[in-house]
Amino acid sequence: MMEKPSVFQERVLPVLTILFALLVIWYVAVVFLNAPFERDTAGRAGTTITFSEILPKTMFQQRPVLPAPHQVIAEIWDTTVNKAVTSKRSLVYHAWITLSATLLGFIMGGVLGILLAVGIVHNRAMDRSFMPWVIASQTIPILAIAPMIIVVLNAIGISGLLPKALISTYLSFFPVVVGMVKGLRSPEQIQLDLMHTYHASKAQTFWKLRWPASMPYLFASLKVAVAISLVGAIVGELPTGAVAGLGARLLAGSYYGQTVQIWSALFMAAALAATLVMVVGLAHTAVLKRMGIKP
């Protein structure tokens, strides 16, 4: 009989292997990308420098082309743990600014997506007229439309959280519409016929059949929606000279050549996205479990 592999072998080891490989590649890249700066510096000083002298220097530059992992980790540690969360130097503060816009946009996008899907499924005219526009809306590059939304809303006196949330909404309603239209249409003909034989109303068919049947589709699309909501919020902070938020950190970092700051903001955004997707995943599992779906 085969021995059952441990959790470490099954789950942790593969992840660690990839992580280790990535770190190795990263460090090698750090040396090669940051070395020219050291050679130039030495050249200007009229001295020559050996590779073994360059190597340690590439790990601790002030403005490296590619910061080393330990520099990024140190920066993240410094800007999260060592700073008060209300400080403008705190990454937690900036993450919260972006997260609040993300969540507001995600909720509005989710609700809008569900409402549109309900309309499309129940109304033939809406099915014909709305669906092409829903698809067309996503062919416009968000980078082009984001500044216009911000500027137009600013002109009528709306600024701050809402414009960014609206960009998140613009991105996140789409997967919800597509997923929910499919989900609300997922009941089999035989299950719909059953409702017909009971002379059930449209509302009863919706709440007792279409809605519960659509749950797996809803959560699958919410996972996509929450991730792109975050992208939307960050994009919303980029073109407007926003002073706070992860997007603002990215922008400020690139203005002043603060690559360490850019990378730490990137990692914070990635961690945030992973957490959000995981939370939606947990909600998914909890709902399906409550519904008694076969595990």
């Binding site: 035989i190 034989t197 002379h199 519960p212 749950m215 008694g292 779906i293 076969k294």
Partner: protein, 263 residues
Amino acid sequence: MNQTSESVVSARQLGLTFETNDGPVHALTGVDLSVNKGDFVSFIGPSGCGKTTFLRVIADLEKPTSGTITVNGLSPEEARRKRAYGYVFQAAALYPWRTIENNIALPLEIMGYSKQEQKERVDRTLDLVNLSGFGKKFPWQLSGGMQQRASIARALAFDADLLLMDEPFGALDEIVRDHLNEQLLKLWDRTNKTICFVTHSIPEAVYLSTRIVVMSPRPGRVTDVIESPLPRDRPLGIRETPEFLEIAHRVREGLRAGHSYDE
């Protein structure tokens, strides 16, 4: 129309033609039939003979294109609005997110029964199909035969006197099917419902029915209606008696006359 008060389903020159891309398909032509109160009528024939279509017309799931049909003296649509029948499909069609008792309560919720009455009826019908104690289970935790029994309980939960069953045991193995046939007869005897039962099994049709309607395809039509002389009380062993075999023989002859065995 000369129609006795006992007639539950009455069809005259009923026809249904589906328009398809390959031309019209005559699913039913010239069907004259009446089903009386308390009857157990089986519809038998090969696929494409319109037996399921006829059942769906009774249930107002399909609209006939010619002829007339009444259910309890009303049009099928009016009868459906009055919840005149319970329908059992080929598959159990239980909702996977509802427990067995909540599945049975589904029509009761829709029809607006009180919580108290829902519970009483669920318990009673679960008992009727021998599923007491399984109410809290989810469908996937039950075998195929038990799921189909739950779907019968769901059709029995409200007070429809007419039960329409579309090959309800078609997907089950023969041992389970024998057992369910026996239970269904007992249930019919106890509840005094009128049952229309679609099948493609000759022994099943003969064993269950008071009348057997033999149908043929292309175009879908009725070729023979056989009144069964078998008593109401039917042990499984009755299937080896000469009377039983004689009716089975007549059904087979009817199918042959309709060219059901060609091709």
